[in-house]
């Protein structure tokens, strides 16, 4: 059975329907890429999974639990760690405080996060708001890991970062895949990096599935049509 399973999920922002039947399956330890152009429903899908937007139809299950009427903090406690779009850390708190605040027991603690991102160790007493964009991104990933999730969701984690920093984030994700046994759902636009890391990809178009499979089998014309690359 899949760890996370979405079947025919629909969702709307008020009168405007954004998802028209999204299917998505992630198994334990698997890395799945969620792709598509802007406005095709990637972030909306994630909001629906995390309980920030109610699904109006379809099935949403995580580890056998129905996610549809659960408030977001309960969903997070089931073991879904979200790294939201736009590096949203708690700016007035220090790096260490950002990590301690949401900590739940498990293999991930401050030490292990600091091993994954040595820069956070260096900046542990610094206010999160004063970090660079890349460091803030590492901090939000670290913060999600501190909740000891079974599924990590990275929403546009490398967007707007310098190439060197992106590389650091990607190698951290690869390290997580190889060593932590985490399931990871990655929303991103970098086809090259995703091809190297994702077991499978789901491409959304206009709020529903357009294509899914292994990225090595992605036909060039499909990529062109749905990803615009």
């Amino acid at each position: 059975m899949s760890l996370l399973s979405l079947q025919g999920v629909e969702a709307s922002y008020g009168p405007a329907q954004a998802l028209f039947g999204v299917d998505l399956e992630i198994d334990e330890g698997q890395v799945v890429a969620l792709m598509g152009r802007n406005g095709m429903g990637k972030s909306t899908t994630i909001k629906t999974v995390c309980g920030m937007l109610a699904a109006s139809a379809g099935r949403l299950q995580f580890d056998g639990h129905d996610l549809r009427r659960l408030p977001s903090h309960k969903i997070a406690r089931l073991g879904i760690g979200l790294v939201p779009e736009g590096r949203r850390c708690f700016a007035p708190l220090t790096v260490e405080e950002n990590l301690i605040a949401p900590a739940r027991p498990g293999p991930w603690d401050f030490k292990r996060v600091a091993e994954l991102f040595p820069r956070l160790q260096e900046r542990r007493a610094q206010k999160a708001g004063s970090l660079s964009g890349g460091e803030q991104q590492m901090l939000t990933i670290g913060r999600a890991l501190m909740t000891n999730p079974r599924l990590l969701i990275l929403d546009e984690a490398t967007e707007g970062l310098a190439p060197v920093v992106r590389q650091e984030i990607w190698s951290a994700v690869a390290h997580l895949k190889a060593n932590a046994g985490l399931a990871i759902l990655v929303v991103d636009k970098s086809l090259k990096e995703l091809s190297a890391i994702a077991d499978r990809a789901v491409i959304l178009s206009k709020g529903s599935n357009a294509w899914s499979g292994g990225l090595e089998a992605l036909p060039a014309e499909t990529a062109d049509r749905f990803l615009g690359v």
């Binding site: 997070a76 939201p84 949203r88 708690f90």
Partner: protein, 328 residues
Amino acid sequence: MLTRESLLNWAMITALLIVPLAAWSLDEPFIITLATKAAILALAGVGLNIALGLGGMISLGHAAFFGIGGYAMGILAAHAQNYEPLFEWPFLFEGSNQMPLIWLVAVVFSALAALVIGVLSLRTSGVYFIMITLAFGQMLYYFAISWSAYGGEDGLSIWVRNEFPGLNTLDPIQFFAIAYVILCLALVFAARLARSPFGLALAAARQNEDRVEAVGLTPFTLRLTAFVISGAITGLAGALFADLNRFVSPTMLSWHTSGEIMIFVILGGVGRLYGPVAGAALYIMLEHLLGGVSDYWQIFLGLLLLLIVLFARGGLIGALVGREKAHG
């Protein structure tokens, strides 16, 4: 690490100790009483600061907890002194004049009140939260006014100050010592709370609720817990305040009192650990120094408050050490 703020904190808490000690050696009991009052009001402020500074909850109803603490003292002591049992079932209880028991009762009842008020009012936020806490405070105020068994509008006088094992509480310097030690313990507790995972999560919830929920924390539970702790500390201060005056009246429950406690916090600096100490000490000094000049001394307090709110948003402490630290 000694920052300017922690140096200032040490200076303040030491001054609050040295002034009454000096007054004691110069045989000026009135000054000791003023220092005791400052310490107790600071304690009430430390309580409010946990809700206001750390949790971002603008409670205009903390007089409710202050007054409940006061009435806990008044009721227990009145029964003990009149030899009328408070209740006979399920066991005979004749009231008490022992401070530790009175404090326990004050803390438990103000915490319970904070739980009830918190559960109902934390469903709202912003101006509605202010209004609901205010409404609860006023409810208790009018209840106390009509509660003739315990003095109603006239309040309740206690002839002898309650006892603390091993101390003579009627000696001003010894009663000051009690208030001062409790204040120090509360400050240590508040400092540890702010740095605990709970306190950090609370500070995070003040900043952004959705983000906190996304990492599996519940802002409501965090705030409610903080509100209860906050109410309990302010309640303890109320019991001490009533013991200081040997008198409790509905005034302790009025929204005017809520405002005063909030003024200590704002004067000193919202969210600054020692803010309430600075604020309460300044308030007492102004009351003492300007009160002799004019009955309308609070005009000057109002002016000062206005200046601080307009030009020194971090309060007195913020003005003296800069705005760097938001808490701790």
